[in-house]
Symmetry: D3
């Protein structure tokens, strides 16, 4: 996907539903990320949803709940083609992420690609170290401070910006902060640093116009508002047409 040097539009899945994942994979996304942190997705749900996405040629990624090597290896064995790992604050954490994603000698991933080999074929073992994407989330003040050492970690494919937590840990509101000029400047700085290191810069969003603006800002991968939000936008259109008061905005899991 990204290695073919195209930019990617990434769907974000928070709802544990294999059918919705399959439906989402027909909407026009290049990749879909299963959010196991703020989404309601467990390992069992993720496994079923990875199968559902595999009915199409959309690239399946997983945002893990944390930097837990066993959990990372388990979703890779289940067929995830990349990991977005939250809350990476320093180079040691980024190196641990890379190690969990790479077979020896490049890393310490244990061997046993139970479903991944079905999905990706007999060449999986040979190609996995080159094709599995490892993204470190930059979403804390610490992570931003240590950005250069993180980007210098060999084998890391890129950084993924979590604008809400990044805003929160810089004293801004997590919902409105991502559009504050101060935060936008930080976001641009992360993108530029990634480029200097020859790495991908990926960006999260929770609103359609923000998604468009981030795409225009040149990120390599931009995430769209999640499944729950898209559903809410559709429901909002309906309620407006019916002259009804809309429901509360759907929570945007996965900031």
């Amino acid at each position: 996907m990204l290695r073919a040097s195209e930019r990617a539009l990434n769907g974000w899945s928070a709802i544990p539903s294999p059918f919705l994942a399959e439906a989402m994979a027909h909407q026009g996304f290049d990749a879909i990320t299963l959010d196991m942190q703020h989404g309601l997705i467990s390992y069992d749900s993720a496994l079923a949803m990875l199968q559902a996405i595999s009915t199409t040629d959309v690239t399946p990624l997983v945002r893990t709940a944390s930097l837990d090597p066993a959990a990372i290896m388990k979703v890779l064995d289940a067929g995830a083609m990349g990991i977005i790992c939250p809350l990476i604050d320093n180079a040691a954490q980024a190196a641990a992420l890379v190690s969990a994603c790479r077979y020896p000698p490049a890393g310490g991933r244990s061997f046993g690609p139970t479903r991944a080999q079905l999905y990706a074929g007999a060449g999986y073992m040979a190609e996995a170290n080159d094709t599995i994407l490892a993204f470190a989330m930059i979403e804390t003040a610490d992570g931003l401070r240590n950005l250069d050492e993180i980007l210098a970690v060999p084998g890391l494919d890129g950084v993924y910006i979590g604008p809400s937590d990044l805003s929160f840990t810089h004293g801004h509101d997590p919902v409105t902060g991502p559009d504050h000029p101060e935060m936008l400047a930080r976001i641009d700085a992360i993108r530029d640093a990634a480029r200097r290191h020859g790495k991908y810069a990926a960006m999260h969003s929770s609103a359609i116009d923000y998604c468009v603006r981030m795409w225009d800002r040149g990120f390599d991968m931009v995430t769209a508002p999640n499944d729950n939000r898209l559903f809410g936008f559709g429901a909002g259109m309906l309620m407006e047409a019916m002259g009804r008061k809309p429901g509360a905005p759907q929570p945007a899991s996965g900031y």
Copy 2:
């Protein structure tokens, strides 16, 4: 709900996801119907989704897969407050539907409201015959022909029009047929017949503008495009804003 003589906007749920059902119940619908016919919802899913809807005061209905008294009684025991039964073609079928929804002596519903009593309280047994809604779907040429005898069945609360199958069985396309003048005339005629019999007339829809127009046409209950369609509308808005070709239209289960 309907007995309070207000008109109702009914959400239509085809995706087996308790979280999505809960989210949907916060969007502003008066009722939500779990579609066990064309939706992907099984009894197990329905049970979990009925619990999810019960976190709000939205009225939970079920469209069963068929006129199977055991299946009807089982979702009533699980807490459904009404049944929309597909493919009712004559008075005998409508009477069987009513019987499955009513305790003796009004009907033959077997006693054992396992979850319904938790949901609706200790008075459930005494009130169930008056509060459980029984809707017969009119969606075939036979059903239309026998409309008067169906509407004359004691205990039936109303008819629910399935415009796609009704179009299909009258030689029209199931997607475009519901907007054909000939079909609209039939639809209005059903509404008028229901009124003459003092019964509710409820109407299905799969597009927002059609939903609005049906509401304006005065049906007692109008169903909105289903969850899957609402999700697709939101995704379409995104893809349009991103300048991308939209995915294929989401299938509108539950015609």
Copy 3:
């Protein structure tokens, strides 16, 4: 179990939980019946619960949702050792029940005991017609009227009395009716008729004292208050000890 001419105490399971089924199988019951009619148990739940009960030597039975031969055969293949079929009103229905439970030439059960053979061993095919129990529920005025022809059906093992629906269809309250002298007389008459035909008479209950009294009345199998009720009794003891107002009585699924 019953063939060893002992009388049986039957647990009644309404809650879809394999662990609770396993726990129940350690409480001292001779048999446990999974209630797929008024209980919240689906085929998937039943399969897992049948496995859970098979960790002990308690006899697993199923009360099906209806007289549906395919559903009966499917739970038999999953390992149920007997069927309690609701709402049997005449000999033809009883004969259909027997046919669904017996391999040719005794009946029309289709061959394929996928899990049953694991559970019961290689001799299953040869022994199944003799060991699978088929109970017809007598719980309507029609069923009572046709009791003799039902009991005369070859291959039927016995009748199972549903006192709530039997009361309801005779104009009594389904909760208090089973203790009305008129209903008790009918219940005794069913027991006596079964004996005359050399068949088992089994009896349902939803309260502990009623269960004890029915046992003393000499039924071959007496069902205890269901899992949900037993839980409620325990919770009631707690609330009483704490000086709190108890919760509403747990609904007694499976009358």
Copy 4:
């Protein structure tokens, strides 16, 4: 598949496991049938397994539990591309099967292909009547007697022979009967009758050598021993190599 006039090797799935279904779809079968009659597969399992098979280009079929139009339509909406219906005894039943598989005016299938349209694309509605396979199982003495009228039903694609039940209902053992000369003669006669009517003849098997022989006998589709049996063959090879007594033969669901 069959319409391309090639013969097909059909895998048979009895174990409710989406992963095993996906693994099976990589073994070299042309089609895989989910057995909802004697297999342990529910609607929920079937839905997940249909998604799993859709990750490959293997054709997904379903053997339903019975001739229940609502259940047939529901698995078609979930993406099954054909139905094998058990216990068809006469032309009326065969016609009901065809009707459940065909949209008007060819049949009475209700419109709402919720997942099928995702799987098969936007042309689904137009093509479904031509591509959905409808197989009537011939597995009783009645079915055999009425074979010609069954084969004459318009829209039926073929017959599927269930040799175990066919043996059982003709007084033979369901396990050894299918290889009895008398039964083999009947089986050949069914194949020849199908050819005379220009319809497919499909054949079940539960052992590898029987499968090979049936293929050589010229059936249009031959089913392999089911997943559970294949697993048992592999385990048997292991136990033999280890010098251990093998486990009991795995039950061959789906005769």
Copy 5:
């Protein structure tokens, strides 16, 4: 709940069953804790059970399996209104617990309250730091030794005494130890220390009389015997009434 300065009776749920959770929420408890440590409850079960409890106004809490910030945040996002964290041995661990439960700047909880916001409404983000309860379990000799430093951790709401492990690590039997005078003295000392620090003292129990005595001892929250035990008490009553030997005592998960 507790902030309204009433004392609370807490139900304890070990069985992974959404229906049983809903039934339990109607029994008269102020709060129900899902035990993800010794109970059989996974994240998937917990999510469904949190929805079930949300049909009532009972406060849902979770006892996590360990001090894993990602797991804590994930159940909070799913709607848990408080955390009981096992095996807290020192102030650093207690501080990590508090951090996982509080948004910046009070802690390091990542933002994305996917279901919590549905459950608790639009004000969730603003109120969460004040309403989410954080209880540290004191259940080891180390924890007891460091009690004062634990109670001094800012943001900690209280301590929750695990009398079985506390007994076990002090050389007493985990079942009988909690009633040993030496242990009761330690338990009282913990309660008194909590009061000196202005924090809540909560107490576990596995028997009804012990629960009553702990309530009388003045704890702010007392946990009742778990769901499995309550079921066992009810079953024991039945078996006693029937003159049968009771089953083995139900294990009291969640000491």
Copy 6:
């Protein structure tokens, strides 16, 4: 099992299917290990599969995803009778494994054997420290280097060799490496070291002939190719008999 000083043949389960687990438990294995690392098995699957295995007298073991004490304790509470822990590199890790498996004073296992006590009976608490097996996996260069200190850890029952990762971390291919003379020498050396320390040496395999050779080499426990591989062997036999090209080899999860 092993304590009775017999050698054990261990089945290896990677597919999350309670039925397949039950079927496997009838094949002739002494023990079955649920692989939660490279297998697709979650806690929920493991719980159901432990119940399924408990229908037989096969010993249930679990290979956990990592050295996570909370996860180890949770599967022990669910009824696992032993733990195989991956990636043990030194004595401290081995000691942490032992501690998680032993009640005080031998270790730090928290008390609450919710299902284990049902399965193993009232004596569980007293016997658990003696009967629960704790195996440390030796599968890295570090683990091999520190083998003697690992074997010296009190309470450790044995070592379990992971030949694929051991090969990988020594520069060999994970699939062919286990049969390389250099690796075989290392494997024998581990076995001999275990014997010197009076501990069990257990060995993994993924091919039948390798399994046989490892048995002949005298290991105390030898693991057979996993469920998925056994299924693949059976399917391969079929495809060969049919003259078809076999599918790709099934991935051997659990190296």
